[in-house]
């Protein structure tokens, strides 16, 4: 496992708050998993193209015309906070 693996930094990137106990437990478990993953470095992958999708379909188009979609009410139905037909979020700009 790389010595610079910083679980607090990665958790911040993931916007995921972890308790100190979780940091310790996951850190140890991820060390084992990353150690196992290191085995990929044994393979020579020079000149091998990466596969992002197993079934290469490109330029998939459908006709572009208006279709029914969710109403404002339906789109907001599961919102944790809403008012006036909008999602309520914390203040972003002072």
């Amino acid at each position: 496992m790389p010595s610079d693996f910083n679980i607090q930094y990665v958790a911040h990137l993931a916007r995921l708050s972890l308790s100190p106990a979780e940091e310790e437990q996951f850190g140890a478990q991820l060390a084992g998993i990353l150690g196992y993953i290191e085995k990929l470095k044994q393979l020579d992958v020079t000149g091998i193209e990466p596969t992002a999708h197993a079934v290469p379909l490109v330029n998939v188009f459908r006709p572009d015309f208006p279709q029914p979609s969710l109403s404002n009410e339906e789109a907001l139905r599961n919102a944790p906070a809403k008012a006036g037909g909008l999602f309520i979020v914390p203040k972003i700009v002072e």
């Binding site: 916007r15 995921l16 708050s17 478990q29 993953i37 990929l40 596969t51 906070a81």
Partner: protein, 486 residues
């Protein structure tokens, strides 16, 4: 005992008006009442809605001859597939009391085929796990031995079908999440070729690996359900445009001359002797039925699990970014948006999901992308190439589905790497995008637990693996055995 029938048997009885869909649905609800306290396969079940759908099916049956193949047949769903107006939680707390605003394409297709679509089946949170112990709502147990796990992540689907709580079920398979629980619970699990079935309305785990498939009591039902749910969908740009064959019609005709590959890399240490013996006996049976056994090589098998856990967690870390407490689900307030996101996600996700988000975020982070993610994608090319080369020589490949039968609850839950390594036989199929099926091929002794045989097929080779599976199944008694539930 209508709940014990296969889907095709019930459909035939309904079409002859010998029984009603309401009777069949009630029979399933009674069985759930009887056994689900021991199993916890269902997270919820809207009985009134299910019976109303059954009544509608009965009216359609009364109105004229049944032309819809699943008319009146109760089919249950893993809690990761959206049904308009029904709860969807993915086995997670983070979705709160989410109600789906629309239905998945597979649900619309099942309903168009006449099925009564009901229930929310338990699963590992966001389909991350191999035992259904990672559900935020409590674990599911194996109907063959309730001290053991049913497999995962679609453990609820497998247990419900094995225990006759429904006629069939749908699940999703990202690295084995249909085939592995099907093997451990003794039912037939089919993961179709990537793109065969639309993923619209399936909550995404790893978008390049996820595929919806079926849990059924026999192979013929798997063929029936695959035809019902397959096909191109303008709402999923990765769905394959090829027409959908009548899979059930091609089950017969025998398997004489079909070439079946045995991969030498799959004869690994750690394979339970009873599993190994059952698979060898099954291979001999397939040979007796006319298949020709050919040794093949899949040389990059040993790297598949490592590549998978980079690609799957990377995609998951991106897909699960949407669960941020803004538009749906539970929210934990914070002083600013970032604190709100972090607190919401910290409180809402369980440990396995957090581990995978951390791993996926790390392998995609600046400075590590090439070393991990890009390299894993190149290894994925090698794994896929192994299969395509093997399929130049053979029509299908046969393997055990799992290295062991169902393990005890709690046995591996403290060691995620050991849990990941139990997916060794199923993971490559998703990386390669091919199709795979697990069906019962025997039992261990003391305790008696199901063993699964896996058949891997070419891209869009479902007809061939279904035909092989059907020939094997019809010549063996395993699919007729029922778990000893009280």
């Amino acid at each position: 005992m209508l709940h014990q029938l296969t889907a095709w048997q019930l459909a035939a009885k309904l079409a002859r008006r010998e029984v009603s869909s309401r009777q069949a649905m009630q029979s399933c609800l009674d069985q759930i009442q009887r056994v689900d306290g021991q199993l916890h396969a269902f997270l919820s079940c809207d009985a009134a809605d299910a019976l109303a759908q059954a009544d509608a099916a009965d009216r359609a049956l009364a109105a004229g001859p049944a032309v819809r193949p699943l008319l009146g047949v109760p089919i249950a769903l893993k809690d990761v597939i959206a049904v308009r107006g029904q709860p969807l939680r993915c086995g997670s707390k983070i979705l709160g009391n989410f109600i789906s605003p629309y239905s998945a394409t597979v649900v619309e297709k099942l309903q168009a085929a006449g099925a009564v679509v009901f229930g929310r089946l338990n699963m590992d949170e966001f389909a991350m796990g191999s035992s259904t112990e990672n559900s935020a709502f409590g674990a599911t147990r194996n109907p063959w031995d309730t001290t053991r796990i049913p497999g995962g992540s679609s453990g609820g689907s497998a247990a419900a079908v094995a225990a006759d709580e429904c006629l069939a079920a749908l699940g999703s398979d990202t690295g084995g999440s249909i085939r592995q629980p099907a093997a451990l619970c003794g039912c037939v699990g089919l993961k179709p070729t990537y793109g065969r079935v639309s993923r619209y309305g399936l909550v995404a785990f790893a978008s390049s690996l996820d595929q919806i498939g079926s849990f059924t009591k026999d192979v013929r039902d798997a063929a029936l359900l695959l035809r019902a749910i397959s096909g191109p969908d303008p709402r999923d740009s990765t769905s394959i445009p090829q027409p959908v064959p009548d899979y059930a019609a091609s089950l017969h005709g025998g398997i004489k001359g079909l070439k079946l590959g045995l991969a030498r890399e799959y004869m690994i240490g750690g394979l339970d002797p009873q599993v190994s013996a059952a698979v060898q006996t099954a291979v001999a049976q397939l040979e007796k039925l006319g298949a020709q056994i050919v040794e093949v090589s899949l040389p990059h098998t040993d790297y598949a699990v490592a590549a998978y856990y980079i690609i799957a967690t990377a995609e998951a870390s991106a897909n699960l970014a949407r669960f941020d407490g803004i538009r749906y689900g539970a929210r934990v307030d914070g002083a600013d948006p970032i604190e709100l996101y972090s607190k919401t996600r910290g409180a809402g996700f369980g440990p396995e999901v957090k581990r995978r988000i951390i791993l996926g975020t790390y392998v995609l982070s600046s400075g590590y992308y090439d070393a991990y993610y890009l390299r894993a994608q190149k290894v994925r090319t090698l794994v896929r190439r192994d299969f395509l080369q093997a399929f130049e020589k053979v029509d299908a490949i046969v393997t055990p589905t799992t290295p062991t039968a169902a393990f005890r609850a709690g046995e591996k839950s403290g060691d995620p790497l050991q849990m990941y390594l139990s997916d060794i036989f199923t993971i490559s199929c998703n990386l390669a995008g091919i199709c795979g099926l697990s069906l019962p091929c025997g039992f261990t002794q003391n305790p008696k637990l199901p063993i699964g045989l896996q058949l891997l097929g070419k891209p869009l080779g479902e007809e061939t693996i279904l035909r092989l599976a059907h020939a094997y199944e019809q010549s063996t008694p395993w699919h007729l055995e029922k778990p000893p539930l009280k």
